[in-house]
């Protein structure tokens, strides 16, 4: 890919997703009453903050050129652990869910960097394992959260009129953006994805950084699980199916190159919101009664969106390969 098309591509990624987001919001605002009402906006943010967390971890993983399929069941495991620990207070629940996620992440990191097994197959296996652990801990049913310790506030509460999960997502995204832009760790993540051999020859600690990235992805998924449990009042061992693919789609729609090396934290957030809004708008559309598009259309539309973005990516890189 040459410079011009990279710029074009990043432009489409960075601004395209923002433009699409703005267009979608405008469309909704003009078409539906209450679309930009506080209730709708806040509930969209509240609900999608879980996906945002998972997508952030996925964004880092994909930038290194890897993939993490285990995030969905890791979130499920996190939600179960958090729910089980919620009677002991907010912190135990929060930290427990986080620790569960970190544990899965550590497994991934170890298997990928030490045993040298492909990220794809590694995280596929840990996905099964995490799901199994979640079901075991939860005894095959959802685990109710204690409403006495204030744990549910993590998912249902507001702070300064803004949902707490959205705060958490916002803060992690700010941190993520800071890390990728202003720490050598972040720059190494980008360098590994751009050219792992070169990064190694440049003397960068590639293996360690990769391990940390999978650890972080696990941790964020665990955190998403905590919010899941708090938001729905229960640890859900069978939730999280397909989350990983939703996250991948959001990251890709946000313009992160799947081959690694190029990516943006902010655009990933935009990607999450974009995919989330599609669902929201379908709901409104049905509510309006003009057409009755079932909720099932959302995955069709999401798939089409993903196709559009990757086709543009591929076209651009193909074009420049030929020019080179």
């Amino acid at each position: 890919m040459n410079a011009i098309s990279l710029k074009l591509f990043q432009g489409i990624g960075r601004y395209g997703v923002l433009l699409a987001l703005v267009a979608l919001i405008l469309f909704g605002w003009l078409r539906y009453e209450n679309f930009l009402g506080a209730f709708n906006v806040l509930s969209v943010l509240r609900y999608n903050s879980m996906f945002a967390l998972v997508a952030l971890g996925m964004c880092f993983v994909i930038i290194t050129g890897g993939i993490d399929l285990s995030v969905g069941s890791t979130a499920a495991l996190g939600s179960v652990v958090a729910a089980l620990l919620s009677p002991y207070g907010v912190m135990p629940g929060l930290l427990g869910g986080l620790a569960a996620g970190l544990a899965v992440g550590a497994c991934n990191a170890f298997i990928i960097t030490r045993l040298n097994i492909l990220p794809f197959i590694t995280t596929l296996a840990t996905m099964l394992a995490a799901s199994g652990c979640a079901l075991l801990l939860a005894n095959n049913q959802s685990v109710s959260v204690s409403y006495e310790t204030g744990f549910v506030e993590l998912g249902q509460g507001d702070f300064l009129g803004f949902p707490i999960p959205a705060w958490i997502a916002l803060i992690t995204y700010l941190l993520g953006s800071l890390i990728i832009n202003f720490t050598s760790f972040g720059r190494t993540v980008l360098a590994i994805g751009g050219n792992e051999d070169a990064a190694r020859l440049m003397g960068l600690p590639a293996q360690r950084v990769k391990a940390l990235v999978y650890l972080a992805s696990g941790g964020l998924a665990g955190l998403a699980g905590v919010i899941l449990a708090a938001q729905f009042g229960a640890g859900q061992p069978i939730e999280g199916v397909g989350w990983e693919l939703f996250a991948i789609a959001a990251v890709v729609v946000g313009g992160t190159l799947l081959t690694g090396g190029v990516g943006s934290v902010a655009s990933t957030l935009a990607g999450v919101l974009l995919l989330g809004l599609i669902f929201n708008i379908l709901n409104f559309e049905n509510g309006l009664g003009w057409i009755s598009l079932s909720a099932y259309w959302q995955s069709v539309i999401r798939g089409a969106f993903l196709l559009l973005v990757v086709a543009i990516q591929a076209r651009l890189s193909m074009h420049t390969e030929e020019a080179a």
């Binding site: 990279l6 050219n195 990064a199």
Partner: protein, 509 residues
């Protein structure tokens, strides 16, 4: 004072095949030291052992007076050895600043201090008379600038020793001058430089001493100024010039002239490496393509075979012009191509000898899509016998064979197709002496049966011995065509070093 770097008795084997045999390299302080040798002579391995990329099997390395054995490029860098690799080993999507500063970032309050880093990158590049926006991604700039960035990165590490592996391959003359200016600055500052290049002019322009390697050994170490160009090329390619002119069968040559060409390439241009290359091959003739590394030999023949697309020129095969655009076209038209990169483009490592051998023949071996195993076995057995392929049997996996036997299987892959033209790119690379001789005599035998052979080899001795006609490429152009008595190592070397004129002089003078 003791030399900055001395490597003694370095041995290295890959899969049992020795690539370094007690090689030596000594670099003084503040010296610009040329390291030269053909492909496979062991230069890169030597450098990679020094920088901790590979581990040596035996030998001793003293750096700055202390014995060292680096376990990673990172460690070598910390000790003061910076390396600029032949292919630009940077991260294209990232900014120029990052590419220069990654690994020794400037921080303020624990976070990256971008403005300080941009300033440093700008200052470093200013030494190269380059003024660019360091915030933009590296790939936004031409290759030459990227190369300069790579060099700036290496120098920015305040190294005691800078290794440059063909740093000028993508620079134009003016940029090379700037680079040389910087190298001289480094020298004045007491930094040593190891300079690897195949361009003789450059070596003479900038280097103080030279180490010449061949077949994994250090052949000669001399002050640059005391070594003539011809001596240098001779020493590198390994043949005394006094050696007898090659004996040639004039008959086959004359016959070759009379026949139609099977392949005729005119004014071929491909990308940045091939500008104007012409050559031709007649049936029954072995034609050599000679030239130093980067002269455009491989690039040219890949286009002939349809593996890459040409940017200009005509390729006539069997009397039809430009009819080949994919390898399958070429194969159907009667061409075979043994690639130089046996491992990545030739063998299918997990398949058996039989499957590898019949890979191209498969469609012809099949009836309604089902492979005729009996015939396949027959053919494979006959080729194993004919070429003397040493293997446990046709079902042995090809990865378990030695390089020479793998190469024979690949040759057989094409021979069983009864081709009209066989292109051999470095057919004897990485092969032991016995197998080499066998392969060469086989090539002769095949040409005797009317097959046209186009052969690329960096082993001059080999080309001169085998070919009745040689086209010498130099910087992407056909520099000389030598035939008959004019095919001598001396004339080829001269053409490689200076061009056509001197080749003639070498013959007639």
């Amino acid at each position: 004072m003791a030399p900055l770097l001395s490597m003694h008795g370095i041995d290295k084997r890959f899969a049992g095949i020795p690539v370094l045999r007690s090689a030596e390299l000594v670099v003084e302080r503040g010296e610009i030291h040329a390291l030269i040798g053909q492909n496979g002579a062991g230069k890169s391995t030597m450098i990679k052992i020094l920088t901790g990329y590979y581990r040596k099997d035996a030998g001793e390395i003293l750096f700055d007076g202390r014995p060292v054995e680096f376990s990673s490029p990172q460690e070598a860098q910390r000790a003061g050895i910076s390396t600029i690799y032949q292919e630009i080993n940077l991260v294209p999507y990232r900014s120029v600043t990052e590419n220069i500063c990654l690994g020794r970032e400037k921080r303020r309050f624990g976070l990256l201090d971008w403005s300080a880093m941009h300033a440093e990158a700008q200052a470093l590049l200013a030494r190269f008379k380059i003024d660019i926006d360091v915030r933009r991604p590296l790939m936004a700039y031409p290759t030459a600038v990227q190369q300069m960035v790579a060099i700036a990165r290496a120098i920015g590490f305040e190294a005691k020793l800078v290794i440059m592996d063909e740093p000028t391959s993508s620079l134009d003359e003016r940029e090379v001058e700037v680079l040389f200016g910087v190298i001289r600055q480094l020298k004045e500052a007491g930094v040593s430089v190891i300079f690897v290049s195949h361009k003789l002019d450059e070596l003479y322009a900038v280097c103080d001493r030279v180490t010449i390697m061949r077949d994994g050994r250090t052949i000669q170490v001399a002050p640059m100024a005391q070594l003539s160009r011809l001596d240098l090329v001779t020493s590198m390619l390994g043949r005394e010039l006094s050696q007898v002119l090659h004996e040639r069968l004039d008959t086959s040559n004359a016959a070759g002239e009379a026949r139609e060409t099977v392949l005729k390439v005119q004014n071929l241009a491909v990308g940045r490496k091939v500008h104007d290359v012409s050559f031709e091959v007649r049936p029954g003739e072995i034609v050599g393509l000679a030239g130093l590394l980067g002269a455009g030999r491989t690039e040219s023949v890949r286009v002939v075979f349809g593996a890459d697309k040409p940017d200009g020129g005509t390729i006539g095969f069997n009397g039809r012009d430009n009819a080949i655009s994919t390898p399958s076209d070429a194969i159907r038209a009667g061409m075979g191509f043994c690639t130089e990169d046996r491992k990545h483009e030739g063998i299918i490592p997990d398949m058996s000898v039989r499957e590898n051998l019949t890979l191209a023949l498969m469609p012809q071996l099949a009836r309604r899509g089902i492979v005729d195993e009996a015939r396949s076995r027959e053919i494979v057995d006959s080729f194993i016998k004919r070429l003397g392929i040493r293997c446990a049997g046709p079902e042995q996996r090809i990865r378990e064979l030695s390089g020479g036997n793998q190469q024979k299987v690949l040759l057989a892959r094409w021979l069983c197709m009864n081709p009209r033209l066989l292109i051999l790119d470095e057919p004897t690379r990485g092969i032991d002496v016995g197998a080499k001789a066998e392969i060469l005599s086989l090539i002769h035998e095949l040409a005797g049966q009317g097959l046209g052979v186009l052969m690329i080899s960096s082993e001059l001795e080999e080309v001169v011995e085998a070919a009745s006609r040689i086209f010498v490429l130099r910087d992407g152009r056909t520099a000389a065509e030598l035939k008959g008595d004019a095919v001598t190592e001396q004339s080829v070397m001269a053409a490689m070093a200076h061009g056509d004129q001197s080749a003639r002089e070498a013959v007639h003078g």
